[in-house]
C-alpha cells in the first residue's frame, strides 16, 4: 500500500515535470520575447585590404533601434568595390535606422526616392549636410497587398548609384517584404542613412531597393567616384553581426530559414533539377564506364593469359597493340585528377560545343572506365584457369567462354567493388559545377548565393547525396543476395 502511494507520487511528479518542461519549450519556441545582443564585426573589403570594424562601434539607441557608427579606418581604395552592411533584426522593433560611418576619400552621395517591386517605397526626407557629411532621412512605407503576415519588419536596403547600377542589380534580387499588421494593411517606418566625412564629389544614386529577409538587414550602397578614381566604388562588407535572441522564437528562425532557402521563389527546384542532372550524369557515365572498363579488361586479360600460347601473326600483333593502348589509357586516366580531365574535356575537347553535361558524362565515363577496367580484370584473373580450359575443351571459342562461363562468375565476384565504384562516381560528379552543369551540389550553391545562408542548402544537399547513396547500397545488397543464392556455396 505504502509503496504504491510512493510510486504514484513519483510518477505524477515526473509527469508534472515533463509537462512543465514541455510548456516552457512551447513558450520559448513560440511566444518567447527576445532580447537582442549585438556583437558586431564589420569588415571593410577593399580591393586588396580587409578591415575589421570593432564591436564598440555599434549600439542600440534609446528608441530601441540599432545604430551602427563606424570608427576610423584607413582606406586605400582603388578600382571599384561594393558596399553593404548586414544587421540583425530586433524582433520587436518597428523600424531599423542605420547609420553608417566611413572614413575615406571624399565622395558625394545623393539618395533618391525609390519604390520596390513588392510595394515598398522609400521617400527621401530631410537631407542634412554638415561639411563633408550627408545624412539622408527616408520615410519607408509598405502596402501589403496580400494582407499577409504578422511578421516584424526587416529591411534590406540596396543603394545603387550611377552607371554601375545595372551591373550590380544582377547580383541582388529584390527580396519580398513583409511588415507588421496592426490591424491595417499599411505600415510606415523611418530609415535614416547618413554618410559622414567623405562626401566631396557629385554623383547620383539612381536606385534604392528594399526588401526584408527575416533575420538580417542589409544596407548596400554603391558609389561612383567620378574624378579621383576611374569608376571607383567603395565596398563595405559588414558581417558576423550576431544577435542572440534568447530564448524565444528559435523555431521561428528555423522555419524562416527553411522557407527562405527552399520555398521562396520555388528554390527547391534547384535541388530537384540538380538531383536529376546528377543522376543522369552518374547513370550515363556509369554505363559508359562499365562498357569501356569491361572492354579494356577483356583485352588486357586476354593478352595477359594467352600471349605466350599464341601463334605470331596479325592477330597477335593487333592484340599486343590494343593491350599497349589500354595500358596507356589506364596510366593517364588514373594518374591525373578527374577534375582536370573534366576541365580538359569541357574547355579543350568540347571548346566549340561548350556542352557541360555531355562533357561531364564523357569525362566521368572515361575516368570511371579506367577504374572499372582494373576491377573487372581482377575479377577475370581471379577465375580459375580450369574454367577457361573446361570451356575450351567443350569447343567454346575464347569470346564464348568469356561470355557464358567467365564473365558471369567474375561479375558476381566483383559486384561489391563495382558498386563502390559507382557510389564513388556519384559523389565525384559533385564537381560538375565547374563546367557549368547545374547538378545537385551546384543547385545548393545557387541557393546559398541568393540567400547568404549556408546551413540549410548545404545540409540539404548532403542529406540528398546520403539518401541516394544509401538507396543504391541497399539495391546492390539485394542484387548480391540474389546472385549468391544461385550458387549455394557450402
Amino acid at each position: 500500500m505504502k509503496t504504491s502511494v510512493k510510486r504514484a507520487l513519483t510518477v505524477s511528479a515526473c509527469v508534472l515535470a515533463a509537462l512543465c518542461a514541455f510548456a516552457y519549450l512551447v513558450y520559448a519556441l513560440f511566444f518567447g520575447a527576445g532580447t537582442l545582443k549585438v556583437a558586431a564585426r564589420y569588415r571593410l573589403l577593399a580591393v586588396d585590404k580587409e578591415y575589421v570594424i570593432d564591436e564598440k562601434d555599434a549600439h542600440i539607441g534609446e528608441d530601441g533601434l540599432l545604430y551602427v557608427t563606424g570608427g576610423e579606418y584607413e582606406s586605400e581604395l582603388s578600382g571599384r568595390g561594393f558596399m553593404y552592411e548586414t544587421l540583425r533584426y530586433l524582433p520587436d522593433a518597428k523600424a531599423t535606422v542605420l547609420t553608417a560611418h566611413f572614413e575615406s576619400e571624399g565622395r558625394y552621395v545623393k539618395l533618391a526616392d525609390v519604390s520596390s517591386p513588392s510595394g515598398f517605397t522609400a521617400r527621401k526626407g530631410a537631407e542634412d549636410r554638415d561639411g563633408d557629411s550627408l545624412t539622408t532621412q527616408f520615410d519607408l512605407s509598405y502596402k501589403d497587398k496580400k494582407n499577409a503576415s504578422q511578421e516584424p519588419v526587416l529591411l534590406t536596403v540596396y543603394a545603387y548609384m550611377g552607371d554601375e547600377a545595372a551591373v550590380l542589380q544582377d547580383g541582388f534580387e529584390p527580396a519580398t517584404f513583409t511588415y507588421p499588421q496592426d490591424g491595417s494593411n499599411k505600415a510606415a517606418a523611418k530609415a535614416k542613412i547618413s554618410f559622414d566625412g567623405w562626401i566631396k564629389q557629385d554623383g547620383e544614386v539612381t536606385q534604392v531597393l528594399l526588401s526584408s529577409p527575416y533575420e538580417s538587414a542589409f544596407i548596400c550602397a554603391e558609389f561612383t567616384c567620378p574624378e579621383n578614381y576611374d569608376a571607383a566604388l567603395l565596398q563595405l562588407h559588414v558581417f558576423e553581426t550576431v544577435s542572440r535572441i534568447t530564448p524565444g522564437k528559435q523555431l521561428h528562425k528555423l522555419v524562416y530559414q527553411f522557407k527562405l532557402n527552399f520555398l521562396d521563389d520555388s528554390r527547391w527546384e534547384y535541388l530537384l533539377k540538380g538531383l536529376a542532372t546528377t543522376l543522369l550524369i552518374t547513370l550515363a557515365s556509369g554505363c559508359m564506364g562499365v562498357v569501356l572498363g569491361a572492354l579494356v579488361a577483356v583485352i588486357r586479360s586476354t593478352w595477359e593469359k594467352n600471349h605466350e600460347n599464341m601463334r605470331p601473326g596479325i592477330g597477335k600483333s593487333c592484340l599486343h597493340f590494343a593491350d599497349k593502348v589500354c595500358g596507356v589509357y589506364l596510366t593517364v586516366i588514373r594518374g591525373t585528377p578527374v577534375m582536370v580531365q573534366l576541365l580538359i574535356m569541357y574547355l579543350i575537347i568540347f571548346a566549340q560545343a561548350s556542352n557541360g553535361t555531355v562533357s561531364a558524362i564523357l569525362a566521368f565515363g572515361i575516368n570511371s572506365g579506367a577504374y572499372v577496367a582494373e576491377i573487372v580484370r581482377g575479377g577475370i584473373m581471379s577465375i580459375d584457369n580450369g574454367q577457361f580450359e573446361a570451356g575450351a575443351s567443350l569447343g567454346f571459342g575464347y569470346p564464348q567462354t568469356m561470355i557464358h562461363i567467365i564473365m558471369p562468375q567474375a561479375f558476381k565476384n566483383i559486384l561489391p567493388s563495382l558498386a563502390n565504384e559507382f557510389i564513388a562516381l556519384l559523389k565525384e560528379t559533385s564537381v560538375s559545377g565547374y563546367v557549368a552543369v547545374k547538378d545537385l551540389n551546384k543547385g545548393g550553391d545557387i541557393i546559398r548565393g541568393v540567400t547568404y545562408s549556408p546551413f540549410m542548402p548545404l545540409i540539404a544537399v548532403a542529406l540528398i547525396y546520403l539518401a541516394v547513396v544509401m538507396f543504391f547500397t541497399k539495391l546492390v545488397s539485394l542484387l548480391e543476395r540474389r546472385l549468391r543464392s544461385s550458387e549455394h556455396r557450402t
Binding site: 580459375d384 580450369g386 574454367q387 573446361a390 575450351a392 575443351s393 569447343g395 562468375q409
Partner: protein, 252 residues
C-alpha cells in the same frame, strides 16, 4: 572389352610432338610419335614431370605444341587456318579438378555446350542429359549446383558433361588424383562402362589396376619421350626398358 573397329586409320596420329615452356628452357615434350586407334583405350603412365599430361593437353591443343603435328580424323589440327573449336567439340576432356561451372546447375553444365554450339533444342539436350545423369545415379541432383556435390559426384558429372557433346574420343587428365580414396571407385566404374561401350579413350592416370583391367594399350613416358608401349600384359609383366622396370618396381 572394347575392340578395334577400324585398325587401319588411326583416330589421332601424333608426329614429332615437341612442347617447350618458358621460352624453350623447359622441354616438356621432346619428340613424341603415337597413334590412337578408333575404339582403343590408351592408358598413359609415367613419373610426374614426364610430360604425360602435356601430351594429353597437346592432343586438343589446350597446350599448343611448339613443333610437330596432331592429325585428328585426317586433319592436322596444328595447322594454320584450322578452327580448333570445331575439333574440340569432338574431343571430350575430363580434368583432374573437374572444372565444372559453379554458377550453373548440373543440368545447365551438361546442356550449355550442345545447345550453344551444336544448336540442339534445349528440351532435347536436357532429356539426354537427364538420361546420362540417371546412368550415373545422379538424376535427382540435376538441379543442384556443383558445390553441393562430393568430389566423386562432381567427376562423374564432368564425364557426363563431356559425353553430352558425343565426342569421338575422350581425354582423361588424371581424373581420380584429386579424389578421396573411397570415391575413386565410383569414377573408375563410370570410366570402365564407357570403355566397354566402345569409346576411344586416352587416360593419364596412376591407377595401375584400371590400366591393367581396361587398357588396350599402355604407354610409358619419361623425360618428355614415349619410352615404351604395349599391351598391359607386356608392360606390367615384361617391360623391356630399364626405366619402365624401375618405375613399375616403385609403384607396384
Amino acid at each position: 572389352m572394347s575392340t578395334e573397329r577400324n585398325p587401319k586409320a588411326p583416330l589421332i596420329s601424333v608426329r614429332g610432338l615437341e612442347k617447350h615452356f618458358a621460352g624453350g628452357s623447359i622441354k616438356a615434350l621432346n619428340g613424341v610419335d603415337a597413334d590412337i586407334m578408333r575404339g582403343e583405350v590408351v592408358v598413359v603412365i609415367g613419373p610426374s614431370g614426364s610430360g604425360k599430361s602435356t601430351f594429353l593437353r597437346c592432343l586438343n591443343l589446350l597446350d599448343r605444341p611448339t613443333r610437330g603435328s596432331v592429325i585428328f580424323e585426317g586433319t592436322d589440327i596444328t595447322g594454320a587456318g584450322v578452327n580448333i573449336n570445331l575439333h574440340r567439340q569432338r574431343m571430350g576432356m575430363v580434368f583432374q579438378h573437374f572444372n565444372l561451372f559453379p554458377h550453373m546447375t548440373l543440368l545447365k553444365n551438361m546442356t550449355i555446350a550442345p545447345v550453344k554450339l551444336k544448336g540442339v533444342p534445349k528440351e532435347e539436350a536436357e532429356r539426354e542429359a537427364l538420361e546420362l545423369l540417371e546412368r550415373v545415379g545422379l538424376k535427382d541432383r540435376a538441379y543442384a549446383y556443383p558445390n553441393q556435390l562430393s568430389g566423386g559426384q562432381k567427376q562423374r558429372v564432368a564425364i557426363m558433361r563431356a559425353l553430352c557433346m558425343h565426342p569421338d574420343v575422350m581425354l582423361f587428365d588424371e581424373p581420380t588424383s584429386a579424389l578421396d580414396p573411397e570415391m575413386v571407385g565410383e569414377v573408375l566404374d563410370v570410366m570402365k562402362n564407357l570403355a566397354r561401350s566402345g569409346m576411344t579413350m586416352v587416360v593419364v592416370t596412376h591407377e595401375m589396376g584400371f590400366a591393367r583391367e581396361v587398357g588396350d594399350r599402355v604407354m610409358f613416358m619419361d623425360g618428355g619421350r614415349l619410352i615404351e608401349q604395349g599391351t598391359p600384359e607386356e608392360i606390367f609383366t615384361n617391360a623391356q626398358n630399364p626405366r619402365t622396370q624401375s618405375f613399375l618396381s616403385k609403384i607396384l
